[in-house]
């Protein structure tokens, strides 16, 4: 259990945009989006949401914690798979409504399907064509999700 941390108030636009204190904006569901980037090769690994306690746990422990909208609870990345994400830096954007964490990953994969990155597919063609065809830019899974996740999770 962690006591409730009070993040600094979002007083003025100037303090939010040009100030030097973390004043995160949680949306009407109490969530803030978070981009996860590999600190070594700068690949984008994941995109997820944090609630206040997940952000607090992430900062305190240095391990990425998120909030699952489907399971309606906080989770520590890697708690089932072992693929923990160690936070090297935590950045926030201009209006402080999006977080970017740069992480070292343990286990080599970040996607629940077993891929290194959740963004393992790319649109074949950005053009008038609009055929919506995706190419797989990762050829092989790092792990087999059936081996790693228990059923009904």
């Amino acid at each position: 259990m962690t006591e409730d941390i009070i993040f600094p108030d979002r007083n003025s636009l100037d303090e939010i945009e040009e100030g030097d204190l973390l004043r995160p904006k949680f949306d009407e569901k109490g969530l803030i989006p978070c981009i996860v980037q590999d600190v070594e090769n700068r690949e984008i690994l994941m995109f997820a949401y944090m609630n206040k306690t997940a952000l607090q746990s992430s900062i305190r422990t240095g391990l990425a914690h998120f909030y699952s909208r489907s399971r309606k609870k906080q989770w520590k990345k890697g708690e089932q798979s072992g693929n923990f994400q160690r936070i090297v830096s935590l950045q926030i954007d201009c209006d402080q409504d999006c977080i970017l964490i740069k992480v070292k990953i343990e286990g080599g994969a970040s996607c629940h399907l077993g891929y290194r990155s959740c963004f393992f597919r790319e649109l074949g063609d950005v053009s008038e064509k609009m055929d919506f065809k995706l190419n797989f830019i990762e050829r092989e899974k790092v792990f087999n999700p059936e081996d790693v996740y228990k059923k009904n999770n």
Copy 2:
């Protein structure tokens, strides 16, 4: 004006997660989050939202278009500042509810405050300390926003 494009249906979880067609999920407000990454140095530049027509315009024209939640309308990145973002690749995540575009930027800046990246501040300390102090990791603005944006925009 563009006619309404029908993206492929999100039929089954298997088609969404393992399939080879773009089946984007727009949330209850009709939006999908989008991460913008510099294709050259892999820096994260921005985070914004697209609605269906902004995604369609982005794919068709190869220039990043977003939806402004505050102004309640689609906008082409750079339409005021000249800092256009040319899309080199468009990726989607496992559950197809987040887009990643890798872009070449024109003008050298992506943040409305004049910084190269919107993520120009970093938490000083990821630890028990929790002092919320941010360090500026960009020292100088690329442009002065007052020179670039007209007032009341």
